[in-house]
Symmetry: C2
Amino acid sequence: MAELITVDDADDPRLHDYTGLTDVELRRRREPAEGLFIAEGEKVIRRAMDAGYAMRSMLLSAKWIDTMRDVIDELPAPVYTVAPDLAERVTGYHVHRGALASMQRRPLPAAGDLLKSARRVAIMESVNDHTNIGAIFRSAAALGMDAVLLSPDCADPLYRRSVKVSMGAVFSVPYARLDGWPGGLEPVRAAGFTLLALTPDERAATLDEVAPHRMERVALMLGAEGGGLSRRALAAADDRVRIPMAHGVDSLNVGAAAAVAFYAVATGRPTA
Amino acid sequence: MAELITVDDADDPRLHDYTGLTDVELRRRREPAEGLFIAEGEKVIRRAMDAGYAMRSMLLSAKWIDTMRDVIDELPAPVYTVAPDLAERVTGYHVHRGALASMQRRPLPAAGDLLKSARRVAIMESVNDHTNIGAIFRSAAALGMDAVLLSPDCADPLYRRSVKVSMGAVFSVPYARLDGWPGGLEPVRAAGFTLLALTPDERAATLDEVAPHRMERVALMLGAEGGGLSRRALAAADDRVRIPMAHGVDSLNVGAAAAVAFYAVATGRPTA
């Protein structure tokens, strides 16, 4: 059973995992270096635990103790109860979701290990926006992608905002970082995957024409909002594929495009 | 050719269309009552004009005059040039996109008129979030839906945030408000549409099983983020349809779900 500890000093060193949560640059450096990430809100905390992440500690206001009682009873980690205004002073924002947990990161798997059993993989290039990373993971998990691979410069899927937007899906679909870019794509191809680059370019074949759902192993490559995939990423792909556009619209947003492509690759196999 | 007028008084009544833009409640009442909407940024302003909306006036800082020169030369509406800090005092925010235009609303078409020529229609129930409205319009336009119908309590697609998130797609796909809810659905059915309610409910048939792309006329019903469609909306539908979920994820966000469903209904007809 967890220890319930009331803390009333914002400088208490036991709250260190939770300080300055609104300082994105600071947290982006600190969290991987210190081996932690922050799960926010009851649902996301439970999902992190269900996925087997170890809890370092939990921070909550008194009225959340009952809601989290079973978690508290089960865990060896300390639970810090604080007044709402103290939580705000420590974290830098008003914690509406009531409970925060500091979770222990695990070493990421090697891409090669994920590729052994996967058939449908999403590969993101330079997706730096935490909201977009989270949204893409949520769709990747929901629509049955087996794994996600990240170029070295993608943002951290375990950053608080990504975790929240993904509704915890970053815990349920395995992911890895590629070594080098676009060189890290070679082992993916060597593992038998067809590398499909998603692009709005009208010269590319449509999803319908490429019919990725018939392919044995597919790696779908996505670029960031705005620029899309880089020229060298496009050059490294086996084929380019596009979602047909109507009404003179030039593109979907990256979250919507990813969802449609995942559906076409992994789930969507309507018969004509 | 437009008149170029330098304004240096934040209380100048000619700037009335642009006052208090950050006050959502105020603007939500004022804009429909005064028959205007705000287009923000060069791309969106041009798209509103291409769609045939009349411009009431434009507000921009001096450095945007060259960019908008062809628009200015072509239009009879007054163009107010202001210093950036005056623009901020009038509107309530820092206008990074440099140019704002006040556009004249047009009467909305009747739903019945849109239904005559449409084959794929999206129907939204109680979508109150301007970002979600904009995102859904962008996907509906891009993926080839012919029209959008709104329950009486949906938010305004011409609200500034909706317009911006839609990237102007609210101008390219025609839309109407239904009279009454769910009573307003009856004329849709009477026009020969199959009403499909999108739901995460596992008892519903999958998109693949329902195969809406084979139907002659489809109206796809979407609810708001969180609650989804109401019980009475579900009861009014001809059939319920779901996107199959993997990895134990319970739902997609409404934007991703809409994009996948639009693709399956309007565009996606892969052959097995």
